[in-house]
Symmetry: C2
């Protein structure tokens, strides 16, 4: 049987919707990187019987069962007793774990709360995985040819444990089956337009290769996944499928695999030795934050101005008051003036200015909620476009940010 | 049997980790609001047999099965054939759906791509749910006392359909069982410190009430959930538990239920008739974006300056160059000067300035990655604090933003 993984996330907060599960996506990408496919994902409540039930279901679907969450010291943490029950491995006291937990608190300059003694109680006959950033150690149980691995739910504890300890060990234990994937990132074309454009390519894909559409606001990711025992043939088929798609979609494809508009913009700016600044009204700093989320952004991003109030547009971006009076703050004239003022105040090679109505209030018949003007360009070459985005306040902000990034990327790549 | 719901999210992108599932949290909160608990959550691949298998599992766990995703027109969308197979309801052509889909494209000023004819093929003997923002209609099948409801996966299509069509209809069909919850939001205390402080209260909670800890960076949410057939007794027990926690935790509790630091800061500023501006270095606009994410932020937020480069700190925030030379950009002196300069440039009652090392590069022995200085305050009363945060670049940014918001909230509430 082909090896497959099942993810089990634990916590009432996941079932009640208080917390968005970001760990699963991270874990699945990591498992895919060693050729291990996730067959199913399930979430269970903080309750011993519910976790035991989830383990039953998971065992039927995969050889690797990866649990996250429920390893804390408090009474709502039930993963350890559930593992103890299901796999007949009672919890015992591990002195070396206790010492590590105490050392953790010493490093923080704090006394260890008594409750953390629980963290040294772990199932017997298990491989224990040290946690460099917290008190919940990981647990690895091998039972009947299956690997049951439990990690803490806190992302910055889980991530290094998974990457540094779980993945390398899994790779040793399970020879990977050839699973290849390639993701094309597309800006400026919608999902159905892409589907029509590539319909014949899609129909003629070999059975070993599947194609998925992953739209996220104004970007669509097209993902090719191939799985076959014949690794060489698969590599050739994947390459051919990719080339066909690239030929058909042209410049709309702006990047591959694990990338983003902001990462590509950063690369393009660095390659050209150019810099960028932005001026934001309705997006309120979200565009700047996206640019800065890329490590090394200081090489090309000096700073930005958030001009939310009209007075700030006037004083910090030198937008004439009568322009705002005549055309309104959400207008081509004002975003052009914002961009002019910005490049005077923060000398940069490229700039963007955004002004719009994110809602829920402030819309009019002529400029409904979702109306956004975006100006982008260099001193020599500028453009402004009006958009009409859909969705709620955060959707409008997200659309505006992505379109500004996409337009900037096109201009920087064109060197205009 | 008590009614329970099962969420089934569909899409290879969820299992491969390309997409983070945010729908589930949204759906679970909505179901909880009408007293319906999610017992299990599972994800299935874009494949008819996998979806049929997931439906089998889901039927064993709940009376309401809510699917999302896989309703698009492309070939990787398999939810409709899976429903047809599992519930013996072949796909038939619905002319009124076809007309609505065509009207949708007319409104967008576009020709309907042929592939969208598929969107009018839906299972027979089903209630169809119109989609105001897209082409994938929802499907509601009643079978053997169970409700199987399929919605599109695109969040801005799913959300209004769920809120406006699914929830009201479910409420009619299923009399809710009394399920109460109350969430306390805490800033400035860690999870184990809270657990120790309230250990005796937690131990003496009645069996009908459970308590969960939900840490997210520098905020911990404590969630009380109560479930009992005796609604009046439960209400009293919940009230008593909440009062005990509030009495013990004091001012560390900054809000209740569906709130956030930025929402509370907005309320406090509006109540006091005060305004706020910010100056950001390492957080690059993320603090401003968080403030602006609250609807109506224009009432109290005029704008902000992102001074990523030292030159921008000098020119736009009037930070003396020799101060940066002497103490470094990440220092108490510089954040204080940033705050001074900010409040000169953007007149506001309160301000915050942040400068730090988000990493991965730029750390030194004296100021390692994660070192962040935050100055907050009014003209009359300012403070600056040094923090040492853990995690990667985005973690450090998130910690810095939350701590700035938390410190500002304390000051605005204190009226200092």
């Amino acid at each position: 049987m082909e090896h497959a993984a099942v993810l089990v996330t634990i916590g009432n907060e996941l079932l009640s919707g208080l917390t968005v599960d970001t760990n699963s996506a991270f874990l699945a990408r990591g498992l895919a990187s060693i050729g291990l496919k996730v067959r199913m994902k399930l979430s269970a409540a903080d309750s011993i019987p519910e976790i035991v039930h989830a383990l039953h279901l998971a065992e039927q679907q995969g050889t690797v069962i990866l649990l996250s969450g429920g390893l804390g010291p408090t009474s709502d943490d039930c993963t350890k007793p559930a593992l103890a029950e299901r796999y007949g491995r009672p919890l015992i006291f591990y002195p070396h774990v206790m010492e590590a937990v105490q050392a953790h608190f010493r490093r923080l300059g704090r006394t260890m709360p008594e409750i953390n003694r629980n963290q040294a109680l772990l199932p017997e006959r298990s491989t224990l995985l040290p946690n460099a950033f917290g008190t919940a150690w990981g647990i690895w149980i091998e039972e009947g040819g299956k690997h049951i691995i439990a990690l803490p739910g806190v992302p910055f504890e889980l991530k290094p444990m998974f990457t540094e300890q779980v993945l390398p060990r899994l790779q040793q234990k399970l020879p990977p089956s050839p699973l290849l994937s390639r993701t094309l990132h597309i800006f400026g074309m919608g999902e159905s337009a892409i589907a029509e454009r590539i319909a014949d390519i899609e129909r003629s894909l070999p059975p070993a290769i599947s194609l998925a559409y992953l739209p996220h606001y104004s970007v669509v990711r097209l993902r090719l996944t191939g799985s076959s025992p014949d690794a060489d043939a698969l590599r050739n088929q994947m390459h051919e499928a990719e080339q066909n798609l690239l030929h058909r979609l042209g410049d709309a494809v702006f990047g591959f695999d694990d990338t983003s508009l902001e990462a590509e913009l950063g690369k393009a700016l660095r390659a050209a030795g150019k810099s960028i600044a932005v001026a934001e009204s309705c997006t309120g700093g979200a565009l700047a934050a996206r640019i800065v989320s890329v490590a090394g952004a200081s090489d090309y991003f000096p700073g930005s101005i958030v001009a939310y109030a009209n007075e700030v547009k006037q004083h910090l971006l030198d937008v004439p008051a009568d322009l705002i009076g005549q055309y309104g703050a959400v207008s081509e004239a004002v975003v052009q003036a914002m961009l002019n003022g910005l490049l005077q105040r923060i000398p940069a090679d490229y700039g963007a200015a955004i002004s719009g109505i994110a809602g829920p209030d402030g819309g009019t018949a002529e400029k409904p909620v979702g109306t956004v003007w975006i100006a982008t360009g260099s001193r020599a070459n500028r453009q402004a476009r009006r958009f009409q985005f859909r969705g709620n306040r955060n959707d409008v902000i997200e659309y505006a940010v992505m379109n500004a990034l996409g337009l900037l990327l096109q201009q920087v790549r064109a060197g205009s």
